[in-house]
Symmetry: none
């Protein structure tokens, strides 16, 4: 029995509220031997108080040693096994530009390229066009029609765009048309099965038309396509947990990941305070609130240790406003670690705290990587966090008699 079946069987209604605060890339590393991590360096009186009031631990996003992207990192926190549910590149690209991709869609990442007179690729990135040139070329592509399907073309930036094909019976088992080389022609699309063949046929027509409509666009004269992906078959959050859930995120990718599991997507503006204000405003309307904070990750990716420390402190500063709402369960965690030292996501477990009247206390007095090692949640797989959230919210009944 998988955990979703278990939750469906055991869940019970309750008038309780769960807040999941995700500080993206929260975990880190010291820069020097004997040093402290970003979180250990930051002054976090409010998170430390929450750690004392609740129970702590460390979340393993996928498996020991496995570094997740944002997709698997968040699916795990939402209680979906990230090794079972995979989100294809095209779908993630579409989610990242806030395109409302759906169950009938195949989403594909497109690159503009420069074709020579003989049809071979002269520049795989079409001379990196401006975003304006990208939009102009996308407008051309939007004139293309292929019978039997709907086509959506959306600009990303520079040479990148997203193509979404909507129709019945489409599949994603299609080869990339991008040969990843210059001096050769783009590859024809071919399907590995009947549904893939149907997609490939649409794509080949689209590409032929694209070359015609782009003929006057200079360096932007052709397209290559890759990362064909259908919408993943994924049970809705409400169906699994019986929770009415709101996502309060600033960046499209995280809105998209929340939309993928059927959460309502709110628009909090661009600031953390705007997110907290939104949380307060809709407090009565939902059972579950996913609030995503981006800057702990982006500063880590930049390798900017002091900036990541500052971003953690800014995050800490809003904790009292959230605790003042008196959620039945408050969780603070991250989707993965992003050590400034590595300038990238990493596999290191993520400090996690859970505050609830039913949390069993431990001896953790501050919120940090080392202190959480002594926490009552131990080291756990991220996919089990929602079980803990549901239990502490009084929303899971007894298994067996």
């Amino acid at each position: 029995m998988n955990t979703h079946e278990l939750v469906r069987e055991l869940r019970e209604p309750a008038a309780t509220k769960i807040v999941l605060l995700v500080a993206d890339g929260l975990g880190g590393l010291p820069l020097q031997p004997g040093g402290r991590t970003e979180l250990e360096t930051a002054a976090t009186p409010n998170l430390d108080a929450a750690a004392r009031d609740g129970v702590c631990g460390l979340s393993t996003p996928v498996l020991p040693g496995i570094t997740p992207g944002s997709g698997p990192g968040h699916l795990g926190l939402f209680g979906y096994d990230p090794l079972e549910y995979r989100i294809g590149r095209g779908i993630l690209e579409a989610l990242g530009i806030n395109f409302p991709v759906g169950a009938q869609d195949v989403a594909i990442r497109g690159n503009f390229c420069t074709l020579s007179a003989d049809g071979t690729i002269a520049d795989r990135r079409a001379g990196r066009p401006t975003n304006e040139a990208n939009k102009a070329a996308v407008e051309r592509l939007r004139t293309i029609r292929v019978p039997g399907v709907e086509l959506f073309v959306e600009p990303v930036k520079e040479h990148r765009f997203v193509l979404v094909i909507r129709g019945d019976g489409l599949g994603d088992r299609v080869n990339d048309t991008d040969p990843q080389a210059v001096g050769v022609r783009p590859l024809a699309a071919a399907g590995e099965d009947a549904a893939g063949a149907r997609t490939a046929d649409v794509v080949n027509r689209f590409v032929a038309e694209a070359t015609k409509v782009l003929a006057t666009e200079g360096a932007v004269s052709g397209v290559t396509l890759r990362g064909f992906a259908t919408y993943p078959k994924i049970a809705a959050f409400a169906d699994v947990y019986g929770l009415k859930a709101a996502a309060i995120a600033v960046y499209p990718m995280y809105k998209g990941l929340a939309r993928l599991v059927g959460m309502d997507i709110l628009d909090p503006g661009a600031t953390l305070q705007g997110q907290v204000d939104t949380l307060k405003r809709v407090w009565a309307d939902y059972d579950f609130f996913f609030l995503h904070y981006k800057y702990t990750d982006s500063t880590g990716e930049d390798g900017n240790f002091p900036a990541k420390v500052q971003m953690i402190e800014a995050f800490d500063a809003v904790i009292p406003q959230i605790r003042a709402l008196n959620p039945d369960v408050l969780i603070v965690t991250g989707d993965h670690s992003t050590p400034s030292k590595m300038k990238s996501h990493s596999w290191h477990p993520v400090p996690t705290l859970l505050v609830s009247d039913l949390a069993r206390p431990d001896e953790v007095a501050e919120f940090g990587e080392r202190s959480c090692l002594r926490g009552g949640l131990g080291q756990f797989e991220a996919k089990h966090l929602m079980l803990l959230a549901m239990a502490h919210a009084g929303r899971l009944g007894k298994y067996g008699a």
Copy 2:
């Protein structure tokens, strides 16, 4: 998706080196309440320094409470799920005498026995012959020919030998011919399927001939066979991890286990210093080094607590030479615990340390069973250790976007 598929998908080339030091049966127990384990008793300044520089934890070889043999213990450390990959007794016996067993082989453990005039077993161990008498009897068995297959007979010691049948279409679903009783005849071999039946036919011919050729050998007058095992279908270490791997072991069993996963088997002579010298000599030629140290297990099996302490101290003494090579990842662990108190392998988790620039520090200041409980690796399944090794060596890319 199993972890091997995941690693194949994510692995990236890197010019990094991983050293896996396996102190066999490393973990232990105190002899008396309130006492220390062997490892806690030993003076291990170099392992303690490594514990401070790196990250510690405890490895569960198979599952809580499950005591592994050497085969599953090592397969886990090599990243092969010991519950998925099973190595039959006959294959382990062949590996243990350094016989180069291969994919076409069925390996079988043989016992010499004493047959009465009526063909029933009078002594199941043929009066425990000397090794010389064993070899003489094996020479007789080597004269036996069965059409269509190659036969190999190898002495082990006393009454034990190994029979390997090499040929096409052989199977291992064959009953033991050893009735495990005296006063009854050895059982005829029978196959549970077509391939087993083919093996059984060869075996019955072999046994009939054996009785004839041993007629003049006195007490060594018959044979019984058990533990029929084909070569396991197991992916090569290099194919899974992309690592060129060397095994530096003294004892045949561990060479055999490393050969099973396709490591190169080096010959370091009979001493730990010889092993370390071999490591230095081939340092440039490999990515991964498995060094096996036997005496922490054998002294534990003897129930000799002070000798195990001494063997741990001798192991500690070579650590600086290995760290001087500056491996990107150095791991010290064991394949299982062997408490002197129990004089046997046990299920207790195994102290483990990992040193790497990317290891997240913890608060462990000495290498021991209790101190590792506070380690950053937590308690982990041995089969995940290779994921951690690969990650810390910069050899695993990101999972999902």
